[in-house]
């Protein structure tokens, strides 16, 4: 290796390194200097900003800065921000404002903000946005970050005291300090790519370069001879089932010779080597022969006569239909009826952290696998199946994770890494490049929806018919149940006397589609909510009035044939947005009076989301009294940035009556925590939270019983507080450490179980559409459109959601703000074009400048069954944003848009079309 000595200052310390001077500074910081706070979110191409550090006080991309350039200069990384004994005010403000979710973008945001505040002590919000622009954040929607920077600026100017987290007390509904934020603002949090393991091997993947091909031959002899290559693994090296279990029908882990490869990126072999370079050389040295087959990207092409056979029966993966009421009669009775086609695009989650998994043989002789996932116990099962190992031989741990949004549900990276560890007996890490993540990770299903709606002239809904084709791409990858979710979302929280809703998933040679925030619901809701807006326009009726007149009420029997089990707050949600909606309408009308080339429009959309439909209705968690008199919760509610660690601790603390700081959470570790099911369908707070509350309740009862013996008092007279139990009547007290010792003395386990069980409340039901848990929401968008170019800017979003009960206010708002910005991306910017899109340079994520002003309205219509009355939130917030924006844009231009993303090109074409 060409090397040169380079001396520079980093975090006020002089360092000398001997490195390739053309190597990116990012590699020098993360490698020899061990400063892993600078992250890598793209393929060294300047597109993500996660690597940003300060060079002589100025933000630069460390991935585009050659090491040679920093000689004699000063570099500041996030590790250098805090003083020995205190956080830098920006760090404190980020925590206090809930500006940290997954934390992967946080170091870059902090440093960019610091450079700004050093120059401009009193910045306007626009200056803050400009300074943060181009540092991507996929979680927060940027709003809380901007607020945090402004608040820190005030502190630095000496105007206000440093931000203190509002409270560490167990107050549900307050603003609680996240349990993991300090590590994330200081750069101490170790994501999988940051972990240092001696003797680590690197895994790279040989992938098909063709859209559809048969694998004719594979010869790895030359690859095995590459110096540094330890193993080349192909289908025949898999000891168990060559697949991904029940996650994906007919998707091999590695394609065997003779099999068809159904997409670009389909995996063929793993190369495991001492260095990434050797692994790459090994991949290139494998001799592969393909027979290229015809391919189809669109559902219509895959279903056409003579279409290439991709998979399944006629390229159909699954289908479902729901018919209620008398649709022909309803259509016949209709005074108004509209039929429309809507289209959506392939979307990529683009979590800032790529798919990265680390594995090693642990001291107990198990395979330990560490990676971001929604379901450690499922991964354990998939690995066991492919490796033909017993479950207890595999331990899966969730590390700090840089976002998922459903993307990290794919078991492939876990199983592939486990195979590499098993076959080499050494630690190994698999880290997708951003390009690989785009090619090979599951996407959101593109839909083509044919909807027909029927109503009376007075605006009473009569019928909805929907025919939904979901493009599942090359593999099932969790797409099987999409039709079920699409149907439920399609009808929404409205009263339909008759429905005929059908959906199917179809194989194509596009990227495989799987879970993506809202799992198949957002696309269907988009079509229905746009069609409702078209109906309102056709009836010359106010769209909010139309929705209110047809809104389902709590307790009413729905068009699904059952009534909602959870409280339904849609009417309350509509009431919450109404004044804002009217005000924005007035604003847009006033603006448009100028009749200039820029026009404003206001749009509305509602939605419901059936949460919790994923896995068991009986969930378990444990609570433990520790020897020193504190508490530990054991559960599986994976936290990849959304804050479940904090929510679980809060709910336990509230139940026990102790400060949250006295509760630790052991979460998502199959070696230590019980299986609390899959983290999907926004179920964690409700289901796992319920189990945590149950465990804490049970522990509290046992604990007070034992303390009562010690204090010679009745248990129900005692008070459990921080570190002690007291008797208000006798003033006697005993410490929790003493109580713990008593547990041990009498042989009572200090760890007790709790169960949250809805299976008896919602009796055995065979209808696949059944699960009466719904949350609702409504968004209002105001947009500005340039009639000359078709460019659209979202100015305002009002986002109202019935959350049941707020557990942690900034986290709930942050989830919604992040989903709204993801909605801006889906509505206007984002699209994976098979055969064209490669990565972040051509997949346009919203940057800070795309952020509208977002007003979140948390509507609390208390739930009936969940802990403290909560309901599921995380995914639902994604649903109404897109149709609200599209409806607003359609109103602004006086033409209907029916395909997303509404690119300037599509919008201009609509503007210049004749038909309204």
């Amino acid at each position: 290796m060409p090397r040169q000595d380079i001396t520079f200052t980093v975090n006020r310390r002089t360092v000398s390194v001997t490195v390739d001077p053309a190597a990116p500074l990012l590699d020098v910081l993360r490698g020899p200097l061990g400063l892993t706070g600078a992250k890598q979110g793209c393929d060294y191409e300047g597109e993500c900003g996660a690597c940003t550090v300060l060079l002589d006080g100025q933000p630069v991309r460390a991935c585009l800065t050659p090491a040679g350039k920093v000689a004699g200069r000063e570099v500041l990384t996030v590790e250098g921000l805090a003083a020995a004994d205190a956080l830098y005010p920006l760090q404190a403000a980020f925590i206090a404002h809930g500006a940290v979710q997954c934390g992967f973008c946080t170091p870059a945001m902090l440093l960019s903000a610091k450079a700004l505040l050093d120059r401009v002590p009193d910045p306007t919000p626009d200056q803050v946005i400009e300074a943060l622009d181009g540092q991507l954040c996929r979680c927060t929607g940027y709003a809380k970050i901007v607020a945090a920077v402004q608040s820190a600026a005030a502190t630095l100017r000496g105007e206000v005291a440093p931000a203190a987290p509002a409270t560490a007390a167990p107050v549900i509904g307050g603003s609680a300090l996240r349990v993991d934020s300090v590590a994330k603002v200081t750069g101490a949090a170790q994501y999988v790519e940051d972990m240092r393991v001696p003797g680590l091997l690197h895994v790279q993947v040989l992938r098909s370069p063709h859209h559809h091909a048969r694998l004719l031959a594979l010869d790895a002899a030359a690859a095995r001879r590459v110096p540094g290559v330890v193993a080349v693994l192909a289908a025949e090296d898999i000891p168990g089932e060559n697949g991904l279990g029940d996650y994906s029908e007919d998707e091999p882990l590695l394609a065997p010779v003779g099999a068809t490869l159904r997409m670009v990126g389909a995996p063929i072999a793993l190369v495991v080597a001492e260095t990434p370079a050797a692994a790459a050389e090994g991949v290139a040295a494998i001799d592969v022969r393909y027979d290229i087959l015809p391919h189809a990207f669109e559902v219509a092409d895959a279903l056409a006569p003579g279409a290439p056979h991709i998979a399944g029966d006629g390229n159909v993966l699954s289908a479902e239909q729901l018919q209620m009421g008398d649709l022909p009669a309803a259509l016949a009775a209709a005074e108004v009826s509209l039929a429309r086609e809507y289209r959506t695009a392939y979307l990529e989650h683009s979590a800032l952290e790529r798919e990265t998994v680390l594995g090693y043989p642990d001291d107990a002789g198990r395979l330990t696998i560490i990676g971001g996932t929604h379901e450690p116990y499922y991964q354990q099962k998939y690995i066991a199946g492919a490796l033909a190992l017993p479950l207890e031989q595999i331990r899966v741990i969730l590390p700090p994770t840089g976002g998922s949004f459903g993307g990290k549900q794919d078991p492939w990276p876990f199983v592939a890494t486990a195979l590499a560890v098993l076959r080499t007996g050494r630690p190994a890490r698999l880290m997708f490049t951003r390009r690989e993540s785009f090619a090979a990770s599951p996407k959101r299903h593109p839909y083509v929806v044919h909807n027909r709606i029927a109503a009376t002239r007075a605006g009473r809904l009569l019928a909805l018919r929907a025919e939904i084709d979901a493009n599942t791409g090359a593999y099932d990858s969790g797409g099987k149940y999409i039709p079920n979710y699409a149907i439920i979302a399609s009808g929404g929280p409205y009263r339909w006397p008759a429905v005929d809703l059908s959906a199917r998933t179809v194989y194509t040679n596009g990227p495989k589609a799987g879970q993506y925030r809202g799992y198949g619901t957002a696309q269907a809701a988009f079509a229905t909510e746009c069609l409702l807006d078209e109906l309102a326009q056709a009836l010359d009726m106010d769209p909010l009035a139309l929705r209110r007149a047809n809104a389902l009420l709590d307790g009413e029997t729905t068009w699904l044939g059952y009534s909602t089990g959870e409280s339904l707050g849609f009417v309350e949600v509509l009431a919450a947005v109404e004044p804002h909606y009217r005000a924005l309408l007035a604003d847009a009308a006033a603006f448009n009076e100028a009749a200039g080339p820029v026009r404003r429009g206001v749009g509305l959309a509602g939605m419901w989301y059936r949460f919790g439909k994923s896995g068991s209705l009986r969930i378990e968690a444990h609570a433990e009294l520790t020897r020193d008199g504190q508490f530990t919760i054991y559960c599986t509610a994976p936290d990849y940035g959304q804050g479940t660690n904090t929510a679980m601790a809060q709910m336990a603390a509230e139940t026990l009556g102790v400060p949250r700081a006295h509760v630790a959470v052991v979460n998502a570790d199959t070696g230590r925590a019980p299986d609390s099911g899959i983290q999907g369908a926004s179920r964690a707070t409700y289901f796992v939270g319920g189990a945590v509350v149950s465990a804490a309740t049970n522990l509290r009862a046992v604990l007070l019983g034992i303390a009562a013996e010690l204090l010679d008092a009745a248990p129900d007279t005692l008070m459990l507080q921080a570190g002690r139990v007291t008797s208000p009547t006798t003033h006697a007290e005993v410490t929790l450490a003493e109580v713990a010792a008593e547990f041990d003395r009498i042989g009572h386990a200090r760890r007790v179980r709790g169960v949250f069980d809805l299976s008896d409340r919602f009796p055995a039901e065979t209808r696949p559409t059944y699960l009466p848990l719904f949350v609702t929401g409504a968004h209002v968008a105001e947009v500005e459109t340039d009639l000359r170019t078709g460019e659209v800017r979202v100015l305002r979003m009002i986002a109202a959601h019935d959350v049941g009960r707020v557990i942690n206010r900034p986290d709930a708002e942050g989830q919604i703000e992040g989903a709204v910005l993801m909605g801006v991306g889906a509505a206007l910017l984002e699209e994976v074009l098979p055969g064209h899109t490669t990565g972040l340079a051509d997949y346009y994520l919203p940057t800070a400048r795309s952020m509208p002003q977002i007003d979140v309205l948390l509507v609390e219509v208390a739930g009936r069954h969940g802990p403290f009355g909560v309901k599921g939130l995380g995914e639902a917030a994604m649903l109404p944003a897109v149709p609200a924006i599209i409806n607003a844009t359609s109103r602004a231009i006086g033409r209907r848009l029916r395909a997303i993303p509404a690119t300037p090109e599509r919008v201009l074409a609509a503007i210049r079309s004749d038909a309204a």
């Binding site: 053309a22 800065t65 050659p66 040679g68 400009e130 000359r788 078709g790 074409a909």
Partner: protein, 293 residues
Amino acid sequence: MTTYVTPASVEAALALLDEHRGRARIIAGGTDLLPDMRSGKRTPACLVDITGIPGLREIRVAAGHVEVGACVTFAELRDHPFIRQHIHALAEAAASVGVAAIQNAATWAGNLVQAMPAADGAIVALALEAEARIVDLSGETWQPVASLFAGPGRSTVDPTRQLITHIRFPRPAAAWGTAWQRAGRRPSLILPTINCAARLILAADGGIAAATIALGPVAATPFRAARAEAFLHAARPAPATWAEAARLAQEEAQPRSNPLRASRAYRSAIIPALVESALATAYGRATEKESPC
């Protein structure tokens, strides 16, 4: 083996290039070069970093022209008080390159040598009728920036034996104004769908003495709309004039389709709006003050 050297003078830089006989390459910001090296498109044995050479980091505002050193970053251009106040198109074009963290490293000169048809720095340089001072062992020449583009991504400046040390552009004696317009798939960190720079110089009688309109990406190299410019010459400033010039520019421009960015038809369709706004804005700025600078 890549070595990294930081010569203290232009002469030393040239000597290093000469020594490596085509295997050494000038680096300034490096924001384009590093990805090119990663992809294997460029494989220099030696990187000659010129950002430490005294005098190349300055912006000099002289009586008849403005001179910008080769190592001035886009951030420095963007924030320079005189440029902000008087050469609006340049300040705005500089602010359009990537995002702030890129502008802190990338240079105008590097952007020119990169020679992309829609390079923001190239488009604004054309409209300003800028020239570049190119030095090699045979001496130095000032060449119009317009002559530096050989094709998409191909410059006539060879950074393995030459370097740009300065860029300069005239400050007309008469009233004049510039403007910048840019459309893209998102507000920032994006290549332009169309970018456009315009400069209007007014005659004493208030008519148009000279006009430049530069557009990208509408040809293999950064493009000047010559027919539209000719039409504006001696025309009366008026909305209809801008509209007609914009229509002519649209006719001359030959954009191409890119499935990830925009179709030819769309790019062509928005050219009139951008050119019209640029001309109207430039005119407004030219008339705002007696003589802007």
